[in-house]
Symmetry: C2
Subunit: 351 residues, 2 copies
């Protein structure tokens, strides 16, 4: 059933039917009702294809997700961000277009989406420090919203970011206050802006406390469980082993915990862990009594908010650049405790 058939059966012009369905005022309420009821009864839905060709809007928002053939890692937080954003899209009549591309084609993927006109706007995920996508999208005149920040990009752009520097600054201070002096950093890949910022927060806090940085206990890689485990195992074997770990993800923190327990040590007693908690739905960090002490910020909420802001930006492209910075919440769980007496610790391992 298409518009023409519908209008013929109703004995009205396509114009009137279209207007009746789209809420234009040039049609009497009686007619509108008749049209709407008839359309409903016949399960009529305008063809998205035709509609978007006629209006010049696709009512779709693009997300480009890069995949690498080397490390097949999918961003841990991706699913939850998508869920949040998708929820908002649905509410506003938008759909989400996901484009999975080889990572070195990622930049080109955006031009393609723009030129093919398949989306009205895009979300930029996982920005690097000097992310080339931002300049590209500005040049293409495609509305976009960045989840995160690209610190080295000079021009203003729309973003929503968590204050990662502050989050890891606070996490570090929290451990320092507990008496820890040897604090390891298990970071994500440092080409990601967020990871760099987290390191800076960590470094600032240590410096402020007059503690020298030790590259040996500052690590960075993909945030998997095995990575957290492997690196922790290695660090705990050091003569001057850390008494606390800061992990960039709850996933790598799980690996950290496993390594600690394998060594026969107790988390929160012998060794402390604090991590960044994105409030991933299937990895809830306990509502009542958090497993991990963490700096928390819901990535699903971020997805919702980014979507909301991008949509309003599409509707009003001249609205000034939007920038939001969320502070992560510090939740205290079971994984942290006072720094142990150093001698006691170095004797304790039984494995």
């Amino acid at each position: 059933m298409n518009l023409r058939e519908l209008s013929e059966q109703l004995g009205l012009s396509q114009t009137t039917v279209s207007r009746a369905l789209n809420g234009y005022p040039e049609v009497s309420e009686a007619t509108r009702k008749r049209v709407q009821d008839f359309a409903e009864a016949h399960q009529y839905r305008p063809s998205q294809r035709a509609q978007s060709l006629a209006t010049g809007k696709s009512m779709q928002i693009g997300h480009v997700i890069p995949f690498s053939t080397q490390h097949e890692m999918v961003n841990v937080v991706f699913a939850d961000f998508i869920a949040g954003a998708g929820e908002v899209y649905a509410k506003h009549g938008y759909d989400m277009l996901l484009s999975v591309v080889n990572d070195h084609d990622e930049v080109q993927a955006y031009s393609e989406l723009a030129q093919k006109g398949s989306v009205d706007g895009v979300i930029v995920h996982g920005p690097t420090r000097d992310d080339p996508r931002i300049a590209l999208l500005q040049e293409l005149d495609m509305p976009f919203f960045v989840h995160g920040r690209a610190t080295d990009v000079g021009t203003p752009y729309n973003y929503l970011d968590v204050n990662n520097t502050r989050a890891f600054g606070r996490a570090t201070e929290f451990l320092l206050d507990l008496g820890h002096r040897r604090i390891a950093l298990i970071n994500g890949l440092e080409r990601m802006d967020f990871a760099r910022r987290r390191r800076e927060g960590y470094e600032d806090a240590l410096r402020a406390a007059g503690i020298a940085l030790d590259p040996a206990i500052m690590r960075s890689d993909e945030m998997t469980e095995p990575y957290g485990h492997a690196v922790t195992k290695e660090l705990l074997a050091m003569d001057d082993a850390p008494t606390a770990f800061i992990a960039s993800s709850i996933i790598s923190a799980l690996g950290v915990r496993r390594a600690i327990e394998e060594r026969g040590m107790s988390v929160g007693k012998d060794v402390s862990i604090i991590c960044f908690d994105d409030a991933i739905s299937y990895m809830p960090n306990g509502a009542g009594e958090p497993i991990f002490t963490a700096t928390r910020s819901s990535v699903r909420d971020a997805g919702r908010r980014c979507a909301e802001l991008l949509i309003s930006l599409i509707k009003d492209p001249d609205a000034g650049p939007v920038a939001e910075l969320w502070e992560a919440e510090l939740v205290v769980g079971q994984s942290t405790g006072p720094a142990p007496n150093r001698d006691a610790v170095s004797k304790s391992p039984k494995a």
Copy 2:
């Protein structure tokens, strides 16, 4: 730049330009080359909107992901499936359309996608036993592919599933062979077909070994880490505590492990764990030495394969129903070992 402008500048008709670009034979190689070079130089890309209106194909494949306001859980394996499928879509020139809908609107979401004509086919995720979506999609005459199975649906349909019954059957047998007699099942939600099948596999194996089923140690819920932890904590406190656990997900297995270790027991020695491992990218179960003994089947590969099959189905809708059943691989890791002497175990807890 659109077709008309392009053809004007080239001094050719739109027809010829279109044919040159789309590889039709009615155009000389010289002209084709000239057109292609010119199009390339001017970054011309046909409007997806117009193209799909003209051809009647949208070159998009739909995925409906339900979200519930009650439990905000996003399917754990979702991201990896998507990554696999998206990779294949990209290769064939398709895009992925994600529709996030409230779970009770899910069925309607499919009709909408079909009637709006925004997709050429859909993937059905997480089928239940008697999944209504299958009948609906057949009625709508929309090509679809099911990831999983809907056991109670009578009509044939296209699916790819893992042999879940066999997987958990083998897992259970493996534990029985190790001497375990008290084996707990930490399943996913049993309205999911896969969970029911896994339970059946578990039950069959126990029955075959002449062991009575005990509902007290057969649990089912969302597969989160805290759930695995909570239920294990409870079960280990029983007088007749299980000596082994079978978990439906590596995520809940992490919770199981935590509860075991909290109790001061050793995984793979005092208590064994075996789980289903979907080979999630950020939860790799060790390439060399798996953390968990598991029945493994890559959900990313499943995504790839479903996409591949759906696309060929779209191209040739008359191709008979496709059904594939994959056997999960049993990988032996560190989390399983011989059943301990019962008395020794019940004395061992030190927490």
